[in-house]
């Protein structure tokens, strides 16, 4: 299998070295040391092995970076031309959402933007595997999943523009609000899944009824207590939840090695449910694995951990400067694994798309871009007094009094001041 990272092992590894004696682990955790300290559990070699450095032997892939369709003994699927063109379209439009939003931030229309560049396949593969009744708990970067769930991308811009904390109705599309406190949503997803169990909407065999939950989070989030507690609750109650981790190799400036010294998907095994690593730049593999995991959940077989192995091609957010902490050739090597290019190569090579299709899609993307540009600038600013709304479902006299007091205060300014 083609290793997913070409940068030599030591480069990334340096980033989590320590000068301490007895550090790092790897040198001492050789076969030899197993002999000197026998018996400490299975898999030491695998545990400390080099599999961290590429996708590893367990990486599930159906479409190579070169656009070559490969097969997998367990997760293979037959994809129709329609499906493949759909994935391609989804990814192209998702990337367009991202580039437009990034541009809008550069032009001062957004305060900040969390780019997904390079993670289109992971998000579309996961998003398209969902059924309408499945519920999504995203981070702040799941723009592609939101798109799959039918959320108008324009609604995603509000919180980055600072006009709201989330403009879409979570229950309309079964797509929850973005969560900024890292990892918190993993527990919400698990609890929601426990609710599904109590509704008897698991394992009935009715495809319209059986539901699952997917919790999105990043590699960095895997270190939060909340995420690990979510694993414990999900395993303990066998909740129908899929933990979908986009391992984009970075948590702002912290490399994945700071969070885990073994392949992240193996974390799940310690909690008693399956974990699997899929090529997150391969939309086919991500789709196949995620829908199998969701199906396991719907059937009542409990939680699954899916590690989508990918790379954050852009900055953490538009305010971040990655040149301070990572190597550009690392990024260059990942360019060769682009999730969209490989599908386009495959489609063209197999004559599944023609120039017309590409041209129409480009036009559609331009449309979308226009929609976002114009729509964003037209997003209404909140009014000062709006800040007092929705603090409670049953508003208190205290809030009412503060609103009235502030309204009266604003009155004391000339008319324009009232709406600042």
């Amino acid at each position: 299998m083609v290793p997913l990272i070409c940068v030599p092992r030591h480069k990334r590894w340096e980033q989590c070295q320590h000068g301490d004696r007895g550090d790092p682990a790897r040198p001492s955790a050789t076969k030899e040391s197993r002999l000197t300290n026998p018996g400490f559990g299975p898999d030491l070699v695998e545990v400390f092995g080099p599999s961290q450095q590429d996708g590893g032997p367990d990486l599930i892939q159906l479409l190579t970076p070169e656009g070559e369709r490969v097969h997998h003994p367990e997760f293979d699927l037959d994809f129709s031309a329609e499906q493949l063109r759909g994935f391609y379209r989804d990814m192209v439009l998702t990337r367009r959402i991202d580039t437009e939003a990034t541009a809008l931030q550069r032009h001062g229309e957004l305060g900040i933007w969390a780019q997904l560049l390079g993670q289109e396949a992971a998000q579309i593969g996961a998003g398209r595997a969902l059924r309408p009744q499945d519920f999504v708990f995203p981070t702040y970067r799941e723009h592609g999943v939101a798109y799959c769930k039918g959320v108008d991308p324009l609604n995603l811009l509000g919180l980055f523009r600072g006009v709201d904390h989330g403009a879409w109705d979570p229950n309309e599309n079964n797509f929850g609000l973005y969560t900024i406190v890292i990892g918190a949503q993993a527990l919400h997803a698990t609890g929601y899944a426990m609710g599904i169990q109590r509704d008897g909407a698991v394992g009935t065999g009715d495809p319209e009824r059986d539901a699952a939950v997917i919790a999105h989070f990043g590699d960095g989030a895997s270190s939060q207590g909340d995420v690990n507690e979510a694993f414990i609750f999900a395993a303990s109650y066998n909740a129908p939840v899929v933990f979908f981790c986009q391992n984009n190799q970075w948590a702002i400036s912290e490399p994945i090695e700071r969070q885990s010294r073994i392949p992240l998907y193996q974390r799940a095994l310690g909690f008693g449910f399956p974990g699997v690593r899929v090529d997150g730049n391969d939309v086919l593999a991500t789709y196949a694995v995620t829908q199998a995991a969701l199906q396991r959940a719907r059937e009542g077989q409990g939680p699954t951990f899916v590690e989508a192995y990918t790379y954050r091609m852009g900055a953490h957010t538009t305010t971040d400067d990655p040149t301070r902490y990572r190597l550009s050739d690392d990024v260059e090597s990942w360019k060769l694994k682009d999730p969209i290019a490989r599908v386009e190569v495959y489609l063209r090579r197999n004559g599944l798309v023609d120039d017309q299709f590409i041209a129409d899609l480009k036009a559609e993307a331009d449309e979308l871009g226009h929609h976002l540009r114009e729509g964003c600038k037209a997003l209404p600013d909140p009014k000062p007094l709006d800040m007092f709304d929705h603090v409670y479902a049953e508003e208190t006299d205290e809030i009412r009094a503060q609103r009235e007091g502030f309204a009266a205060y604003l009155e004391t300014f000339d008319e324009t001041a009232g709406s600042h």
Partner: protein, 327 residues
Amino acid sequence: MSTQKITLAKGLNMGLRKAMEDDPKVLIMGEDVGKLGGVFRITDGLQKDFGEDRVIDSPLAESGIVGTAIGMALRGYRPVVEIQFDGFVYPAYDQIVCQVAKMHYRSKGRYKIPMVIRIPFGGGIGAVEHHSESPEAQFAHTPGLKVVACSNPVDGYWMIQQAIASDDPVIFLEPKRQYHADKAELDESATPEPLFTSRVVRRGTDVTVLAYGPTVKTAMAAAEAASTDGQSIEVIDLRTLSPLDMGPVFESVRRTGRAVITHEAHVNLGMGSEVAARITEECFYSLEAPVLRVGGFDTPYPASRIEEDFLPDLDRVLDAVDRSLEF
């Protein structure tokens, strides 16, 4: 319906049972709430009668308990979470102040979190560290949360049902020291006052003493003792800490001109500071003396052998009353 004499523990247990009977969406979750019925037996018998799906024994992780309860609330359930002791709510503090408190606001009302977080609070039970804390101010300072404290068996029965019925998240504080103490007469056919109201529990003319939870009993005892010295003390049970129901307090202080507030929490930045500030803002010209605060000292909770010195008691309340009257 005939009345019966019940303890606070019994009142809460009956109230929880009633809420679960009335609404199948009500769930209970926490450590040891099932077979054991909770370490204080407040959920005694509920798992047997409502099953393990509705009375959920949890892994040992408070953030996990509150975090998953949020998810269940988003799915349409009304979780009642039990925190085993006040000192163990802190692992869940992030989920409570960043998620439970903010989800309704964040979503413009589209997310509702009708959750109750029950916390046995306060000291006086001779326990080891972390079992006698009074964390109310840390929640009352957080917009989006509502915070109430019951002080007697009858309020326990009604307030827990009202809290569960509320569409807002409620931090529900229970004075553990009184769980199995005094009994009171419960008439289940009565109609309770609204949840977010304070109540004058003793009329008086000289000084207003404000209390909630465990210190209501202290305040009543102090008022009784003072009456023998000819001092007439009005006692108000605040009951709700966020929102505060200051109306009856202002009315009272305008009459007495003097106020003392007592709670077990540390005085520094405790509820007393907020109540004192509001009284001073509203009743400035009626005040004969500054509002005085009698609470736990600003030290960590001490070894239990001296906890009664740390906690406000009748003498310290009366000492404050005297100082107020001497002003």
